[in-house]
């Protein structure tokens, strides 16, 4: 049965545009401490690419790419990365999220260790924001059913 809300133009353009959008999101996350951007913004762009996939295709097709289980694991994983880096700093004897002490592990200068620690925290924030955005959108658009979009 042909769904009248499906459309070959929108699906083709989405298939062309989603990989550059995700690449740009990774650029925003990774370049966040030199230019405007960061974990929240990059995570939002990364979540928006999945939301575009839900709009152009279907919830089933999107859940084949990123299932509910993996999505929930991503939510927890980002928080664990964030708090884990802070806890490592705490264990090494500095304050919580005081990245300068990380040079005991990485054998670089404290300033470089600070930049690396910020980057790790940004990665955790980006993963959590992406997964939470996708989860909120899926729950809103399907009324909590996760089967198909309600009209």
């Amino acid at each position: 049965m042909i769904n009248r809300f499906e459309n070959i133009i929108i699906q083709t353009i989405s298939r062309l545009l989603i990989p550059p959008i995700q690449l740009y999101a990774l650029y925003v996350i990774a370049h966040g401490h030199y230019s405007p951007g960061g974990g929240f913004q990059g995570g939002c762009i990364l979540g928006a690419s999945f939301i575009l996939m839900v709009i152009a295709y279907d919830i089933k097709e999107t859940k084949r790419m990123i299932s509910e289980k993996i999505n929930t694991i991503f939510i927890v994983l980002g928080v664990i990365i964030y708090s884990g880096i802070g806890a490592v700093c705490l264990i090494l004897g500095a304050d919580y999220l005081d990245y300068g002490i990380l040079n005991k592990i990485f054998s670089v200068s404290p300033a470089k260790a600070r930049a690396l620690g910020t980057f790790g925290v940004e990665i955790g924030v980006g993963i959590t924001v992406m997964a939470v955005m996708v989860s909120i959108f899926l729950n809103l658009v399907s009324g909590g059913e996760h089967e198909e979009a309600q009209e």
């Binding site: 009248r4 809300f5 459309n7 133009i9 929108i10 353009i13 062309l16 545009l17 550059p20």
Partner: protein, 110 residues
């Protein structure tokens, strides 16, 4: 100097297309006419304005950083060039699915 004049010409022509698109959005009688005006006018206006900004960015000299910034601006223009007509198409198709009647010749004669 030539690049600055070229960028001013590009930005002015882009603003002209934005203006015609806005006039079309406000003055056309029908949903589909309005979508046509904004879809085409906005795409060309944004393309011309961003090209003008990219050319103006090069007017201080062709260094590596300014060329990279211009390439990024042109990537934004390319993204708009693909995404804006598709979004217009999606909105128009959604309107057709929702049952918006197009303006016919008989409606004009009333």
């Amino acid at each position: 100097m030539i690049l600055t004049i070229l960028s001013v010409l590009l930005i002015i022509s882009g603003i002209f297309f934005f203006f015609t698109a806005t006039v079309g959005l406000l003055r056309f009688p029908d949903f589909y006419c309005r979508m046509q005006a904004t879809g085409k006018g906005d795409t060309l206006g944004a393309l011309l304005c961003l090209s003008g900004i990219a050319v103006y960015n090069l007017s201080d000299g062709f260094t590596l950083s300014s060329v990279l910034v211009s390439i990024k601006i042109m990537l934004i223009a390319f993204f708009i060039f693909i995404a804006n007509p598709t979004a217009t198409h999606a909105i128009t198709r959604a309107g057709l699915n929702a049952g918006v009647k197009p303006l016919m010749k008989e409606d004009l004669q009333k």
